[in-house]
Structure formats: C-alpha cells, structure tokens
C-alpha cells in the first residue's frame, strides 16, 4: 500500500497553510471563471499561468493553484446552466436540460445545491480513480521507448477532436500549425537556427504561454465584439432551499453511476468531459425509465451530468500526469505550466517529483471539499456576479492578460506577438480550425521531434522502428481510428446530442 504512503505525503504538501490558501483562492476564482460569460476554463487557467510565475510560487503551489482553478471551473459551469439555460462551459450543456426547468418551477436553490453535491461526488470518485489508476499506468508507461512515445503523441493529436468532432482534417492542420510554430528557434541537438530570420527575440523560440493567452483571451474578446454580446443579464432570484435529506439520499446511486461513467470518459482519449456528462445523463434516463420526469425538472437529470462532468475532469488528469499527453484543452494548459516549471511530464514524474504529483492529487481532494463548502453557502455571491456585463468584464480580463505576459519578460515585443496570435486565433476559429490541437502542437512538438530522432539513432536510421513493436503498432491503429471514426459515427452521435436537447420542452 505504498500509494497510501504517497498520498499522506501529498496531504502533507497540500495542507501547508500557504498551499491551502492558494487552493481556496483557486477554487473561488475557478468557480468564478466557470460561471462568468466569456471565460472558459482553458482561457481562465491560461491567464493565471503568467501570474503564477510572477508571484514566484514554488512548483507545488503553482500546480495546486491551477488544478484548484480547473476543478472550480467545472463547478461554476452549472450555475448559468441552471439559472439562465445558458451553459457556462461546454460540459455543462446537459445540466440545462433539467436544471433550468427546476429553476423555472421555483426550485433554483435546490438545483444549485444538489448539483454542487453531485459535482463533489463526481470529483471525489474521479480523484479516487486517479489515485488508483495513475500509479499503475505510470509504471506501465515506463516500458515505452521513443518509438512508442512518438506513436502516442500521434494518437493524442488524432483523438483530440473527439468522436463528436466535425472535420478531423482540420484537427490535423491545426496540429501541424502548432508543431510548426514550436520549431522556430535554435535546434537543441544541432544548434541550427530555424525560422528565426535573424530576429534576436526568436532565437529562444516562441513562448507558448503568450501564444496560449493570445489565442484564447484575445480571440474571445474579438468574438464578443463581433456578436455584440456586451450587455448584461438580468438578476436572477434564487429563492429558498427546500431540498430534503430524503431526496438527497435518493440520488446517491445516480451520483455513483455518473461519477464512474464520467471518470471513464475522461481517461479515454477523444471522449472528454462533454461526452462524459452526455453519457451519464442518457444512461440515467435509461436506468430510471418511465418513472422519471426527465426534461421537466427531474432532480436526477441534474445530478447525473454534473457528477459525470466532474468525474471526467479528474479522469482527464490521468493521461496528462502519467503520460504527459493531455486529452483536453484545459489539461493541455496545465501541461504548459508543468513544462514551463521545467518539470518533464510523464511516468518519471511519479518518482522524481512525487511531492508535486501527490501534492496535486491531495489538493484535488481538499479542493473538492473546499468547493462544496464554497458552493452551497456562498452561491449568492456567484449568482450576483453572473449579471456583470461582459462589456466591463472582458476589457479587464484582456488587461490582466497583458499584465501577465508583460510581467514575464518586461518586453513590449511579447505583447505584439500576443495580439498577433489573438488575431490569428480569431480567424482560425471563424474557419472552424480548432485551437486546442495548435496548443498541444506547441507543447508536444519539441518532445515529438526528440523522440523521433532518438528512435532513429536506436534503429540506425531504419524508419520502420516507429511501428515495429506491437504496442507502437496498436497506438498507430488507434490513431488511425481516431481520425476515421468521426466520419463514420460522428454525425450519428452529434444528431443524438442535438435531439436530446431538442426534446426538452423548455428550449424556447
């Protein structure tokens, strides 16, 4: 039971006053990010990275802060789903189906409370799964050679669009663009200058943090301006809590099912939190059958997707921590933080940076507890902030992004670059080129090239080493499937998700 020993060690890290304080701060900010319009979780975490740097936080504290934000954002997404029928983030879409009808029939407070409990249950189940699965997977990953890693990176890109993704070719293009940007600078192994055009600032390569912040934050501002979505929303009244203990107990099986399903969806490449909450909701509907009133404000219809999406968000950390291969936008941004802290992600992290890994895992447990406490009594504050109009909020968020980037290097040159990335991000999003593969390409590009050249050195220039071992071959096949499946089953799944939403009587 060495896992328990490590976990205790992790708690020792997570429970120091400083780390606890940052976890609380992160949980609060995360919930805020989740519920505010125009600030997705990936975007929010990205903006906080430069700040974590300039504060000079230790690696443990910085990662605890960002994971708390990540967990918090998953809690926050449900608030506007329930009160306004507008999902705060993508995975919270399914929560609208029964959450909003509950709010309309005067049970908004109940829906918010039960969904907080469900989020807690999902997060807890997901984190327990992470504790059990991650060390096993990390040990397995130690057997990977460079060829296997190369194939694994390909798999990560191929499945990033997800089974529900629209055009896998655009994922490929986005990934290629991201990796291309990462090749700018002096080549590490030979010292050749690549694509620097003699510009001094480019010698060290393009800092991926400014690319991430630019792509997300600036392009979001431009989208809001385009859609003229600057106006605020009306204040919503929440009302009194009437949830009974009996009702709470009756949803426990739903919470368990949702959490486990969500976790599985989170671990698997290409599924992610959105699919996690969708599967949890659909399965719950099947299990309960005709007895339920799904779509009209059934309490289980709020519990299932919330448990699912929080389980999935913890599950998504498994491949990120053990293999260094994130499966979602937000975990990619967390990976960016790890790389910039000079920590090599992957299986070795579990032995070399045990304090950090287990500190983060323990902080997830602590963070979930903090979030539950934050989200029930303090829900009024978040609800009030929901009505802050984006026309004040987004300029301030943009300014914070500027401050963060400027404070890393104290040079205006980086700011021009960030704006350029923002404009590029706007055009790419308009053309439906996904941004997450670009970010992943920026992060994984150097690793991919390193593994490719190591593999070639090992095989003395024989390219077939890349698919020689059965494991590598399997990864290649899955990568191929990841690109082919969206063509085959994607349209069907997407239609199902749309129909599920249309069925609900309140889609007006």
């Amino acid at each position: 039971m060495e896992t328990i020993g490590f976990l205790m060690q992790g708690f020792a890290v997570a429970l120091t006053p400083e780390n606890l304080m940052f976890a609380l701060f992160g949980a609060f900010v995360g919930t805020l990010i989740g519920c505010l319009p125009g600030l997705g979780p990936a975007n929010g975490v990205a903006i906080l990275i430069p700040l974590a740097f300039t504060l000079g936080l230790s690696p443990e504290t910085a990662m605890i802060l960002l994971t708390a934000v990540y967990a918090g954002a998953m809690y926050g997404g449900r608030i506007s789903s329930i009160l306004l029928n507008i999902p705060g983030d993508e995975p919270a879409m399914m929560t609208c189906l029964d959450g909003y009808p509950m709010a309309r029939s005067g049970r908004a407070a109940d829906a918010l409370a039960i969904s907080a409990v469900a989020s807690f249950a999902g997060g807890l189940i997901g984190t327990l799964g992470l504790i059990l699965l991650a060390p096993v997977l990390a040990r397995f990953a130690l057997t990977f050679g460079p060829a296997e890693y190369f194939a694994l990176f390909l798999l990560a890109f191929a499945t990033l669009g997800g089974i529900t993704g629209k055009n896998p070719m655009k994922t490929v293009i986005a990934a290629a663009l991201g990796i291309m940007v990462s090749t700018v600078g002096i080549d590490i192994s030979t010292g050749t200058q690549r694509y620097t055009f003699g510009v001094l600032e480019l010698y060290e390569g393009i800092d991926f943090i400014l690319a991430i912040v630019g792509l997300f934050a600036i392009s979001e501002l431009l989208f809001f301006i385009e859609h003229k979505a600057g106006g605020g929303r009306d204040r919503v009244l929440v009302g009194k809590l009437t949830l009974t203990l009996k009702e709470l107990v009756s949803t426990i099986p739903t919470q368990l099912r949702g959490g486990v399903l969500g976790f599985i969806a989170g671990v698997l490449p290409g599924a992610g939190a959105s699919l996690g909450s969708f599967i949890s909701y659909t399965l719950e509907k099947q299990v309960v059958g005709k007895k339920g009133k799904f779509g009209e404000g059934d309490i289980r219809g709020v519990v299932a997707p919330e448990a699912g999406n929080n389980g999935a968000s913890s599950g998504a950390l498994v491949p990120m921590l053990t293999l260094g291969v994130p499966g979602s936008g937000t975990t990619a941004v967390l990976l960016a933080m790890l790389i910039s802290l000079n920590i090599t992600p992957g299986p070795l992290m579990f032995t070399q940076n045990a304090d950090l890994v287990w500190g983060v895992i323990a902080a997830l447990l602590v963070g979930n507890l903090l979030l539950l406490v934050l989200n029930i009594p303090m829900i009024g504050i978040f609800v009030r902030l929901l009505s802050v109009p984006p026309m004040y909020l987004l300029p301030i968020v943009t300014m914070v992004a500027f401050v963060g980037i400027y404070s890393i290097s104290n040079s205006a040159f980086d700011l021009y670059f960030m704006v350029a990335f923002g404009v590029a991000g706007y055009f790419l999003r308009k053309l439906e080129i996904p941004l997450v593969p670009i970010i992943l390409g920026l992060l994984l590009g150097p690793e991919m090239e390193k593994n490719l050249s190591h593999a070639m050195v090992l095989s003395d220039g024989d390219w077939s080493i890349l698919w020689a071992s059965p494991l590598a071959m399997g990864l290649w096949i899955f990568a191929g499937l990841g690109l082919a499946l969206p063509y085959l089953v994607g349209p069907l799944l997407r239609r199902r998700m749309r129909e599920a939403i249309k069925e609900s009587p309140v889609s007006d």
Partner: protein, 148 residues
C-alpha cells in the same frame, strides 16, 4: 461559390507549407556530418502533412462561416488597433495611463456609457498597478507618472 473561406485558407496554408518546407532544405549541414534525423527532417515531414491537409481543404471545403461586414468589421479593426496601441504606449506613457485609455475605450466600444467605461478603466488600472507594485513588488512601468 461555397466554401470560399476554406479554399482561401487552404491556398494560404499550401503556400506556407511550401515556403516552410523549402526553407528547411536550405540549412547548412550541421557540424559533424549529416545524420538520418537532421534539423530539417521533422520540418520536412510537417510541411508534407500540412500540404496534404491544405489540398484536402481546397478540394472538400466546409460551408462558409458568416463573416462580419461593414460596421461590425470596423469595430473589430478598432479593437485590434486599441490593443496594438496599448502595447506600444505601455512603456512610454506608463501602465496606469495606457491601461485607463485601453480599458475605457474597449468597454465604451462594447456598449458601455462613457462615464462608467472611464471609471472601469481608471479603477482597474489603479487597482492592478497598486496590487502589483506595492503588494507583489513587481514593477509595472510608471511612465509619465514617475516621481523623480
């Protein structure tokens, strides 16, 4: 013609892929002789992948997106200009003045009234400046407001 956006993008990416791949072939052989994987190998692979992707885009483009026209497009250009000018003026004018201008203008263009927009800009600029310079002892440029 439908899918014009994707076709133009595909053409642009194809040109990028060719330029990127061509540039990779121009680098001198690294000191110590060539190996199977040199500095140009990986970029060459990327150029081929991107070229294939861009050809696909040109042949099978998705339906076009709704592009903003007229006034909305102008607003977008204004926003980008504000951001660039903000970056240019941050050091010479100092953080507080530049930020007040940038945040006020942006929130005014997004539909806020002039007074609330200006107040948002001023308050957020001063708050962040005080927090960073005195709370976290990180220096943001003081610019014109510097006390000599």
């Amino acid at each position: 013609m439908t899918g014009l956006g994707d076709r133009i993008l595909g053409l642009g990416l194809l040109i990028l892929a060719i330029a990127y791949g061509w540039a990779a072939q121009q680098w001198p052989e690294p000191f110590g002789g060539a190996e199977t994987v040199g500095p140009e190998t990986f970029p060459t692979i990327l150029a081929v992948v991107l070229a294939a992707g861009s050809l696909y885009l040109m042949l099978k483009p998705d339906p076009d997106a709704q592009w903003p026209l007229g006034k909305t497009a102008l607003e977008l250009v204004i926003a980008v200009v504000i951001l660039v000018v903000y970056a240019v003026l941050m050091e010479p004018l100092g953080f507080v003045i530049a930020t007040t201008f940038a945040v006020s203008l942006l929130s005014w263009r997004m539909g806020a009234g002039l007074r609330p927009a200006f107040l948002t800009g001023l308050v957020s600029a001063v708050a962040v400046y005080v927090l960073f310079n005195f709370g976290l002892s990180l220096s943001l440029p003081a610019g014109l407001l510097e006390v000599h």
